[in-house]
Amino acid sequence: MSNFFDKSDLSRKDVDEIVSETLKNCDDGEIYFENSKSESILLDDNKIKSSNYSSDLGFGFRAVSNEVVAYSHSNEISKDALKNSAKNLQSTLKSIKGTYNHEISKSNNKFYDDINPIEQKTLDAKLEVLNNVNDYLRKKDSTVKQVTASFSGEQKSIEIIRSGGEALTDVRPLIRFNVSVMLEKNGRKETGVYGIGGRQSYDEYLKNDNWKNVCEEALRIATVNLDSKPAPAGEMKVVLGPGWPAILIHEAIGHGLEGDFNRKKTSAFHDLMGQKVASEGVTIVDDGTIDKRRGSLTIDDEGTPTERTVLIENGILKNFMQDRLNARLMNTRSTGSGRRESYKHIVLPRMRNTMMLSGNQTQDEMIKSVDKGIFAVSFGGGQVDITSGKFVFNCTEAYEINNGKIGSPIKGATLIGDGPSILKEVSMVGNDMMMDPGIGTCGKAGQGVPVGVAQPSILIDKMTVGGTKL
C-alpha cells in the first residue's frame, strides 16, 4: 500500500480536518489520492523502439452540492496545495447548503491481488518475449513485412478519504500484451492485431508459450484480409460472432444506460425504464465482480463496492448504471459504477464488464438462416451518439453470407444502427457466450477507462453495412 503522506508536510489528521471542514455543507464529496506506476515496452520494425517507465502521483478533491460538482486536482501533495484546492471548491459552492451523506456500502470481496505486475517480470525477460514474437512471425511467413509487439503494465494504488475520516483503499494491477502484424502480397497490404490482458501478472497470460497463440491470431486475421473483397453497401442481415463483437452492446445499449445521460434526459433510453427494449431472450448485465478481468473493480472510484447490475432482463429495461451523484438525484442507489481515468478527472457513471448472456441457438443455425448478409467476427472500435441513439463499429474481420453459407472475406466496413431499436432486431441468441480477450478501453468525456465485454453469437435481422459495393 502506498503511503501518500510520508514525503509531505501533511498528516492524516490534517487531511481529515481539511476534508471534513470543506465538505461540511455539501451533499457528497471526497479526496482521492492516487499513485500509479506504469511501463510500456514496444518492439517495432525489428527493434526495441521504446521503453518507458512512468510514475504519477496526485490528488483530486471533490465537493458535491445538489447537482453542482466542484473539482480541483494537483500533483503536489502538501498542506498548501490541499488548502488551495479547498479554497477553490468553497468559492464555487459559496452560497450552497446540503447534508453530507455518510452512507457507503461495504464488502470484503476482492477481485484481484495486490501485486505490481511490472516488478514480477524482469526487463530482460520481457525483451526476450518481444524479440521471440518478431522472429517467430517473420520466419513463419515471408509476406510478413512489419511486426509490432508491446507490453504495458500498471499498478494503481488509490485511497479515498471521506468527510468524517472514513478511508477506502484499493491496489489495482493491469497488464496488456499486444501483437500487430502487417503483410504485403502482390502490392496489397493488410494488418492483423490481437492482444490479451487483465488484472494479473504477465506470466499468467504468457505461460505455455501462449504468446505464440497471440501471434497466430494476429497473423490469421491479416491473412484473411489479404483476400478480402469490397464490402457490400446497404441494409442486410448480420451475424455477430461471440466475444469481442459485444462492443456492439457496449456502444448501442451500454452508454445509453449510464445514469448521467438519463438524469439529464439526453439519452434515447431515459423514458423507457420497465419497458420492452429488446427481443425476448435478451439479457444484458454489467458486472464489476468477475475475477481478474480488465473491467473488474473491487471498489469503484468513489469507494462503493462493485456488483453485477442487471440492465436488461429478458427484453425489459431494469436498471441504469449509477455513481453516487446521479443515484442521489434519481432517488436510487449507486451500482458501484462511479469511475475516473485518474485523479485528474471527475467521477462519471461508466461500464465495467458489459455482457449479453447466452441463449440456446447455435451459430450454425444463424448462418444457415441468412440468404444474403454478413458474418462479423472481429471489430476495431465503435462510437455512439447518445442523443440520436445512432452507433457505429468497424469490422476488422468479416465475411459475406450467401444462401446460408459463409463466403469470401470482406474489407473493413463500418456498420451503423439505432441503439434503442437494434436489440428488437435480434432474432437469435447463441449458446456460446464468450468474454473478450481483455483489451477494451472505453472513452467518455475525454476519459479512458479499462472495460470488458462478452456475448454469444447473435443474429440481427437488419443493419446498414457501410461498404463500397452497391
Partner: protein, 438 residues
C-alpha cells in the same frame, strides 16, 4: 500561477546533470506545467467547476545508441533521482538502435520568434459564469431546445525543453475555449449539435450569444431526419469535417508511417496524389495560431513547409529518428504538423452547393473507419440532402465509404478557408463515394 521559466530550467538542469553524472552519453528533458480552470453550465445553472494543476517531466537517457525514457508528475528531487537511476539502468540493458540520437546541432532552433501565443489576462470564474449565462439564454430561446450544456476553459501552460547539447528553450502559451452542446426534441426525434470557439487570446473568442444561437440553430435543423437509399453520390464535407481528411493525410505522410511501410502514401513522393488544383501548407509561425510552434518536440527549427504543390506530394513530416532511417534531414515535425491547411479552391460555397442536382452535405461523422495502411475509409455520417443548391431535409443513420487514393483525386475545394483550428480546410466536395442507407 504557473511555474516560471527559472523553476522549470532548474528542474531540467538538475536532471541533465544527474544523467551525465551517472554516465549517460546524452540526455534530453521536457518539463512543463499547465493550469486550467473550467466552469460548466447545464440548463442555465452552474453544473461543475474544475481546476487542474498539472506538472509533467519526461526524461530520455542515451548510452551511445541505447535509449530509454521515463515520465513523472512528481518533481521532488528525491523522486527524480530514483527515476533517472532507474531510467539509466534500463538504458544499459536496452539493445542498440543505430538511428537513436539527439537532433543534429545545426538544426536546433536558435532565434525564438514571439508568436504572441500567450495572453496574461485571467478570467475569473464569476466572469465565465456571466458568459455562459448569456450563451445559454440565447441557446434556449426556441422551445424545441430541451437541454443545453456549455463550458468555459482557461488554460495556461509553460514548458522548457533542454538537452545535453546545450539546447534550453521554452515558452508560455494560453487558450480560452467556450463551447455549447444543445439537444432539440420534437415528437419524432431527438438530436444534438454543438458550436465552440477557441483562441490564444481572450479578446479573440466569439461572443456568447452568437455561439449559443449557432449551436441552437444547427441542432434544430437536424430534427426529423430521414434515412436515404444506398447510392453513389457527390458529398460535400462541412469545414468541421473536411479538416479530418488533412489530419489523416498528415498521419500517412509522417516519416514514422513511411519508414515502417505502413502508409498508403509510401513511395508516392513527387507523384500526384491530389488533383493539380490542390496545395497543402504547414505553417508553424502563424501569429496567435492554434497550432503554432517555435520549434518541434526535439528542439528542431521548423519553417513553413509546402507538403503538396499542384497536387504533387513534395514533403513528408520528418523527425530525427525516422529521418535518419529514410536518409532525410528533420524538417522540425517531431510531434506532427503545426498549422496545417489546404489553400483555398476557386469556387465559392454557393456555387459548390449547386454543382450537382443531388448532393449529400455531411456535418458529422462517427466511428474510426480510417485505415491508413490501405487508405480504406468507411464511417457513419449525418447531414443534409441538397437538391439543386437547396437544403431539403436532414439525413442520418447512413455510412459513407471510399478509398483515399481515389477520394483525394476527386476533391474540389471552395474558397472559404478560415483559421479556426490547428488543422483547417475550406468546404470540400468529393465525387463518387458510396453512401449506404436503406
Amino acid at each position: 500561477m504557473i511555474k516560471d521559466e527559472e523553476y522549470l530550467k532548474s528542474k531540467a538542469s538538475f536532471c541533465l546533470d544527474l544523467a551525465k553524472k551517472l554516465g549517460a552519453t546524452d540526455a534530453s528533458v521536457t518539463v512543463g506545467n499547465s493550469i486550467s480552470e473550467t466552469v460548466s453550465f447545464r440548463n442555465k445553472v452552474l453544473d461543475e467547476s474544475n481546476r487542474s494543476d498539472s506538472l509533467a517531466i519526461s526524461i530520455e537517457t542515451y548510452l551511445g545508441k541505447k535509449k530509454s525514457s521515463i515520465t513523472s508528475s512528481n518533481l521532488l528531487d528525491e523522486n527524480l533521482k530514483t527515476l533517472i537511476e532507474k531510467c539509466f539502468e534500463t538504458t544499459k540493458i536496452t539493445p542498440d538502435d543505430e538511428f537513436n540520437s539527439l537532433p543534429d546541432k545545426d538544426l536546433l532552433a536558435k532565434n525564438i520568434k514571439d508568436l504572441n501565443l500567450y495572453d496574461q489576462s485571467h478570467i475569473e470564474n464569476d466572469k465565465k459564469i456571466d458568459y455562459l449565462k448569456e450563451l445559454e439564454e440565447t441557446a434556449s430561446i426556441d422551445k424545441k431546445i430541451i437541454n443545453t450544456e456549455s463550458g468555459f476553459t482557461q488554460n495556461k501552460s509553460n514548458f522548457i525543453l533542454a538537452n545535453s547539447d546545450g539546447f534550453c528553450n521554452g515558452y508560455k502559451s494560453s487558450s480560452f475555449t467556450a463551447s455549447c452542446v444543445a439537444v432539440a426534441k420534437n415528437e419524432n426525434s431527438m438530436e444534438r449539435d454543438y458550436e465552440f470557439t477557441s483562441k490564444c487570446h481572450l479578446n479573440d473568442i466569439s461572443n456568447p450569444s452568437e455561439l449559443g444561437k449557432n449551436a441552437a440553430e444547427q441542432t434544430i435543423k437536424k430534427l426529423n431526419p430521414k434515412k436515404i437509399g444506398s447510392d453513389k453520390l457527390s458529398i460535400i464535407f462541412d469545414k468541421r469535417i473536411s479538416k479530418g481528411f488533412l489530419s489523416s493525410f498528415a498521419g500517412a505522410i509522417s516519416a514514422s508511417a513511411i519508414a515502417r511501410g505502413t502508409s498508403f502514401l509510401k513511395d508516392k513522393l513527387n507523384q500526384p496524389i491530389f488533383s493539380n488544383l490542390i496545395n497543402v501548407i504547414d505553417k508553424p509561425d502563424l501569429i496567435k495560431g492554434m497550432g503554432s510552434k517555435c520549434f518541434d518536440s526535439e528542439g528542431v527549427r521548423s519553417d513553413t513547409l509546402k507538403l503538396v504543390s499542384d497536387g504533387v506530394l513534395i514533403n513528408y513530416l520528418v523527425d530525427t529518428y525516422n529521418g535518419k532511417k529514410l536518409k532525410l534531414k528533420s524538417n522540425g515535425r517531431s510531434g506532427g504538423s503545426t498549422n496545417l491547411y489546404f489553400e483555398n479552391g476557386n469556387i465559392n460555397y454557393d456555387d459548390l452547393l449547386k454543382s450537382h442536382s443531388k448532393i449529400l452535405y455531411v456535418t458529422e461523422t462517427i466511428g474510426h473507419g480510417t485505415n491508413l495502411v490501405t487508405g480504406d475509409y468507411s464511417v457513419g455520417a449525418n447531414g443534409f440532402l441538397i437538391e439543386n443548391g437547396e437544403f431539403k431535409y436532414p439525413v442520418n443513420e447512413i455510412t459513407i465509404a471510399g478509398n483515399f487514393n481515389e477520394m483525394f483525386k476527386n476533391i474540389t475545394l471552395a474558397n472559404d478557408l478560415e483559421f479556426k483550428y490547428s488543422v483547417n480546410s475550406p468546404t470540400m466536395m468529393i465525387d463518387g463515394m458510396t453512401v449506404a442507407g436503406k
